[in-house]
Amino acid sequence: MSDTTIAPKRPLRGLDWKMLGPLAALVLLLVIGAFLNDNFLSTANLLNILTRAAFIGIIAIGATFVISSGGIDLSVGSMAAFTAGMMIILMNWMLGMTDVIWLIVLAGIAAGALIGTSAGFINGLFITRGGIEAFIVTLGTMGIYRSLVTWLADGGTLSLDSDVRSLYRPVYYGDILGLPVPVILFALTALAGWVILNNTAFGRHVQSVGANEDVARYSAINTDRIKLYAYMIQGACVALATIVYVPRLGSASASTGVLWELEAIAAVIIGGTLLKGGYGRIGGTVAGALILTLIGNILNLTDLISNYLNGAVQGVIIIAAVFLQRGLSRKSS
């Protein structure tokens, strides 16, 4: 992890507990998984985990920007469901207009990108120009998008036409050099996010706005614009995750993306980003998303724990991961 070297407070020790905490939790889970099931470390299972983590992971990278800037976005799960629903409706509708399936798929992907980014823009606009708390704006849009997708689907499931789906399928199921496409997109998004957050003026501004908005404003930073961009990045990340999600099951319903917002926020916080803003860690977010996915995977692979307690196990591990990260960094400083 190259970003461990830029830890601001403990350059001499060269150790960053904020990064090592989630990594330690990750390694611990891998060891537990390997003990519980022989197939856990098989390539197929590890690729399953990485692919699954891609949805929450990509969304969580966007959430790292929003949370670093001192904001929060509760609407991402509903936004993903609504975007997926609109993409499916558009692609099915276009099937009556043209026979060129690849054009339909491209149009669907373009529409997804546009809808997601616009949804993020709308959130950002109400938060900055409207001056309403991010929690309230995104709580509102969360309900709006969730209801819209339920309404569009008549309470049921929107299903993508099978011809379109067979061409679109490789976006989720395909692989390049043995790596599934969602994993590659996840890695590229993480890399881009890391570069933007740590190595650009914009990234530094995001974190200064989150640390202290007034100080940032006095330093001639256009804080509204920075925040607006952060929500648009979040929207674009939701769009990308949705574009990868749609070919997986070829359907969207009222239950699509439920609680994704909390998983994304949990991944970000487990990864060492501060919930109150001012400090973001893309590498940690990636580890956080992997930890959350691993917990589900390990619980499915074993009968040791009653099914009814799955949520409790997740809760314990989330708190433990954050404790490792915070508790250890406090002792070491």
């Binding site: 099931n37 197939n39 856990f40 098989s42 197929a44 299972n45 399953n48 699954r52 339920t150 689907a153 008549d154 309470g155 049921g156 499931t157 299903s159 199921y173 997986r248 099951l249 359907s251 319903s253 009222a254 239950s255 699509t256 439920v258 589900g296 995977n297 619980l299 499915n300 692979l301 009968d303 099914n307 009814y308 799955n310």
Partner: protein, 312 residues
């Protein structure tokens, strides 16, 4: 015809002692948060349109609630604002809604309970009961039959509730002593996405699976995707449940991967609404318990259960 209907409505009004000639029926159901409930809402709307067109003076009010508390609030509104003459309710949960429904009954309304029974059955006039134990049993018996009494089976359960427990209980009873081994039963929460992931993990965990029981057709479809991706669709078959249009279509067309499902029709709400309207429009008695079976659907009978337009 018009005279005939209004005469019936009048006699119905006299029978209930209500002053109004028109009949208002409140329908309270859970909101469309998953596929089956979506089908429930759709069938309720369809039945309301059909019944209102057929009976002059009949008004049907549908309310979809997101939780047991919301449903209790909706019942209060139905009595106070809409002044319903009859209530058709699919309770979110049995115990918490028993007293709210009792309040409605005390206002003089006729009560029809669907699917989940109340804690106190004396409140209801009509009970349209689904057979959740039978739901699991039909699937289990089919598997015993098809696997010839031995094999490795995994199950996929819904959201942890009484319904889910009863289905699981029926399934376990059916395969007990048959030589079929139930290797795992995780909760996939009646969700396609969750079922996809749970199935992927089953495939990792077990090198040999002969059959999958998914206690809902949405889950069966999610699981099927995971099996296809792993290229193991020749190894096992799935049995679903509920009666989703897409699955019934596949069963009717002779699908090898999902050769059977079990009927647990969301259209049971329409049955209950018909019976409730009949209480006001028919000259025959309609009180009592109506048990709906959970029959097995295979390629032999699937056509009869297929609704192309249903969202579920």
């Amino acid at each position: 015809m018009k005279h005939f209907v209004s005469a019936l409505a009048l006699s119905a009004a006299m029978a209930t002692g209500a002053a109004a000639e028109d009949v208002t029926i409140g329908v309270s159901i859970p909101a469309a948060t998953h596929g089956w409930a979506g089908g429930l809402n759709w069938h309720a709307e369809e039945a309301a349109k059909r019944l209102e067109a057929a009976h002059e003076g009949l008004d049907i009010v549908i309310n979809a609630a997101g939780s047991a508390t919301e449903q209790a609030n909706a019942l209060e509104d139905m009595v106070a604002v809409q002044q319903i003459d009859a209530l058709v309710i699919l309770p979110f949960e049995s115990d918490p809604l028993t007293d709210p429904v009792r309040q409605v009954a005390e206002s003089g309304a006729f009560i029809t309970v669907v699917d989940r029974g109340l804690a106190d059955p004396s409140i209801q006039n009509i009970y349209v009961a689904g057979d959740n134990v039978g739901f699991g049993r039909s699937a289990g018996e089919y598997m015993v039959d098809r696997l010839g009494g031995s094999g490795n089976v995994v199950a996929m359960r819904g959201i942890p509730t009484v319904i889910d427990d009863q289905r699981m209980q029926g399934f376990e009873e059916a395969i007990e002593g048959s030589g079929i081994e139930l290797m795992a039963a995780e909760h996939a929460n009646w969700s396609r996405d969750d079922a996809f992931e749970v199935m992927q993990d089953y495939l990792t965990r077990f090198p040999e699976i002969d059959a999958v029981w998914a206690a809902d057709d949405d889950m069966a479809q999610g699981a099927l995707e995971a099996i296809r991706e792993a290229g193991r669709e020749d190894e096992m078959f799935l049995v679903g449940g509920g009666g989703a249009a897409a699955v019934i279509r596949g069963v009717a067309d002779g699908s090898e991967t999902i050769p059977a499902t079990v009927l647990y029709p969301p259209s049971m709400i329409a049955t209950a609404m018909d019976l409730t309207v009949a209480r006001f429009m028919s000259n025959g008695p309609v009180e009592g318990t109506f048990n709906l079976a959970s029959p097995l659907i295979t390629s032999d009978n699937a056509e009869a259960f297929y609704y192309a337009d249903s969202p579920y």
